[in-house]
């Protein structure tokens, strides 16, 4: 009931359609998805009193928070270049399918695939209307930078959270944009960027770039080794991951990490209305909590 009243009140503050907004929920209200984990597990049951939020260094009053209830728009940004041909492409399809089947009725799914070319495979579609995931064929070079930039440059809906799960298996080989430009675009968007990379080691992908993208958008990075290790007696054997669901857990983990986020709402007070706003959040409860959110927004 309380949430309904808050939403009704917020609706009055919402901008007219077409008005330019970043991740502000209204003219005077900012929404901030925040992940709180402890020992890698989501922490539920927090209240507004448990958070300290600063906007450009000025402590703000949190009007309201919600947990898990705000619908999600998920954009899967998947590598369809030549290097994923075969088992890896099948693993991506399987993982994407896992996400589709986990969507709630009011969540939406989009799929963007990229080689050198960036193409929408599926436009934003509600869970019930989205057909089984189909991708490929895999061919061509890799424009991951351009794909991420294109994926996050989307109008932010007023009543939803946006996340992108990006999958790749290597370095960019064809983008026009460099990494710095993509980070700048991502930090101005409202989309949390989660990256799943299949790589033998963190040096086989642009890990530093991925980390920075995740940091500024409040996402996460997971490197999945393309092999599995088995122990038989004293022997350790490794073989290339070819089974079709070896990416499922990583995709689902990213999705659930975003699902189980608080959404804090506040009306910026005591700060300049325009320009870039740095935002920091911490949990004031005793004990070590890992807090992850966007690092700011553009007004």
């Amino acid at each position: 009931m309380r949430f309904a009243i808050v939403v009704a009140g917020l609706a009055l503050l919402l901008p007219h359609p077409g008005e330019q907004r970043a991740f502000r929920a209204g003219v005077d209200v900012v929404e901030l998805p925040v992940s709180v984990t402890r020992n890698d597990r989501p922490v539920a049951g927090l209240t507004v009193a448990d958070f300290e939020l600063r906007d450009n260094g000025v402590r703000q009053t949190i009007l309201d928070l919600t947990y898990e209830t705000v619908p999600i728009d998920v954009t899967l940004v998947v590598d369809a270049s030549a290097s994923v041909e075969g088992a890896l492409l099948r693993a991506i399809v399987s993982a994407a399918e896992q996400i589709r089947t986990r969507l709630r009725d009011d969540d939406r799914l989009a799929i963007l695939e990229f080689s050198e070319r960036v193409r929408e495979r599926l436009g934003l579609t509600t869970a019930g209307a989205a057909a089984a995931v189909d991708l490929g064929p895999a061919a061509g070079w890799t424009s991951i930078n351009d794909a991420i930039a294109t994926a996050v440059a989307m109008p932010p809906p007023t009543d939803r959270r946006q996340m992108a799960i990006v999958f790749t298996d290597g370095f960019d080989t064809m983008s026009f944009l460099d990494e710095a430009a993509v980070v700048d675009i991502a930090r101005r968007s409202r989309t949390a960027v989660f990256i799943v990379a299949a790589a033998a080691s963190p040096t086989a992908v642009p890990k530093r770039f991925f980390d920075e993208l995740a940091r500024v958008t409040g996402g996460l990075v997971e490197i999945v080794p393309p092999w599995e290790t088995t122990h038989t007696g004293n022997r350790i054997s490794m073989r290339r991951n070819t089974y079709e669901n070896f990416l499922d857990e990583s995709f689902v983990r990213a999705f659930e990490a975003f699902r189980t986020r608080y959404v804090l709402r506040y009306s910026p007070d005591g700060v300049a209305p325009d320009g870039w706003h740095d935002v920091t959040v911490r949990v004031t409860r005793r004990g070590r909590h890992d807090v992850r959110s966007r690092t700011g927004y553009q007004r």
Partner: protein, 367 residues
């Protein structure tokens, strides 16, 4: 058992009946392939050589001996044939295709420099440009250096020393510049190829873990500056120089380089890149209106291109032009022409975009 034998016999009959008509040549043999090629059937290699086993047989058992015989009776068509043989192997992903490039070049350059004719010189330069275009398409700077540029540079140096100036072409300066650009883009150590190249002395290694434009940029620039002195290579040299300068954080100099272009572009890719790079340089100089205008001019040259829109998205978001950024992003995601290609995609492949045209020229020269 008799049923099994009967089924087997039937299966053999079916297989026999399903066989294609006997080929005109035995494809495992080099001589008939070359004879057809030399008579003007330039498609014969691609058409008849369909098996990696046959190709490897030719490469391992026949090619060296045949080339030795050809050296006694040299004709340009022999070198053209070797390039077509390499092309077929490349297109069929037989990973020893590079061997044939290597053998073809060695055959061609074993021609004495002091006994040359203008036609032979023109053919030799055309052959090198064609083979290097194919090598550039691999985006393997180690291939390009070891199998293309180093040997050609040696050849040109030797030719210049005896006054055979027709074998010296400023085009090689642009190609050297492109090599250093390619090196800067390669992020990881490349796997060694499995071919004659790996055993040869020409095995230049890239720095472990790759390199960067900071290291390679100055070397590329020095070659582009040299190439810019010649009318035939000036436009490409300046366009590519501009892109290197953008990546080195010198957008002012990039604009100056583009402004110095006073020769025809020659092909639309160069014209397109010049606007694309102008857009990027202007964006770096915080001149968003001009940057977007340059990107839009690039789109006039290549209407379905992706890169100008992506560049404009970055510009628009940096100045809070969100609606325009979203509009352009939607155009990238759902293009009007889904099959349109972007000339940006061939930038890093150097002259590969001209390979087909050069191959046809080469075939014309041997007719």
């Amino acid at each position: 058992m008799s049923r099994l034998l009967a089924a087997l016999a039937l299966a053999m009959l079916v297989i026999a009946a399903g066989r294609p008509p006997a080929a005109q040549f035995a494809p495992q043999s080099l001589a008939p392939l070359f004879a057809a090629y030399a008579s003007g059937d330039f498609a014969v290699v691609a058409r008849e050589l369909t098996s990696a086993v046959d190709f490897n047989h030719i490469r391992e058992k026949e090619l060296e001996r045949t080339i030795a015989e050809w050296k006694e009776d040299r004709r340009p068509v022999q070198a053209a044939f070797l390039l077509d043989l390499a092309l077929t192997a490349h297109n069929r992903r037989w990973d020893t295709w590079l061997d044939v490039i290597c053998m073809g070049r060695e055959f061609l350059t074993s021609r004495p420099l002091d006994a040359v004719s203008p036609d032979d010189d023109a053919f030799e330069i055309a052959w090198h440009k064609t083979s290097i275009a194919l090598l550039e398409g691999q985006r393997r700077p180690d291939f390009l250096l070891g199998q293309g540029l180093e040997p050609l540079a040696e050849r040109m140096t030797a030719a210049a020393a005896i006054g055979a100036e027709r074998l010296v072409d400023p085009w090689i300066e642009v190609a050297w510049g492109r090599l250093y650009e390619q090196r800067a883009l390669v992020g990881t150590t490349l796997p060694p190829p499995r071919n004659c190249y790996s055993q040869s002395r020409r095995r230049p290694a890239l720095p472990s873990g790759g390199t960067s434009m900071k290291n390679e940029g100055p070397r590329a620039l020095s070659h582009y500056d040299e190439a810019a002195r010649f009318p035939s290579t000036r436009s490409e040299a300046l366009v590519r120089k501009a892109w290197v300068l953008v990546q080195m954080g010198r957008p002012d100099d990039a604009i100056a380089a583009l402004g110095a272009i006073d020769q025809p572009f020659g092909d639309d890719a160069l014209r397109y890149w010049s606007q694309l790079f102008r857009g990027r340089a202007l964006a770096a100089l915080a001149r968003p209106d001009e940057a977007v205008a340059a990107y839009d001019t690039a789109l006039v040259v290549a209407p379905g291109a992706q890169a100008p829109h992506v560049g404009a998205i970055a510009v628009e978001l940096s100045r809070n032009g969100r609606d325009e950024a979203y509009r352009r992003a939607a155009l990238v995601r759902r293009p009007r022409d889904p099959l349109a290609t972007d000339p940006w995609w061939v930038y890093w492949s150097g002259d590969f975009r001209l390979f087909e045209e050069r191959m046809m020229t080469l075939r014309r020269l041997v007719q």
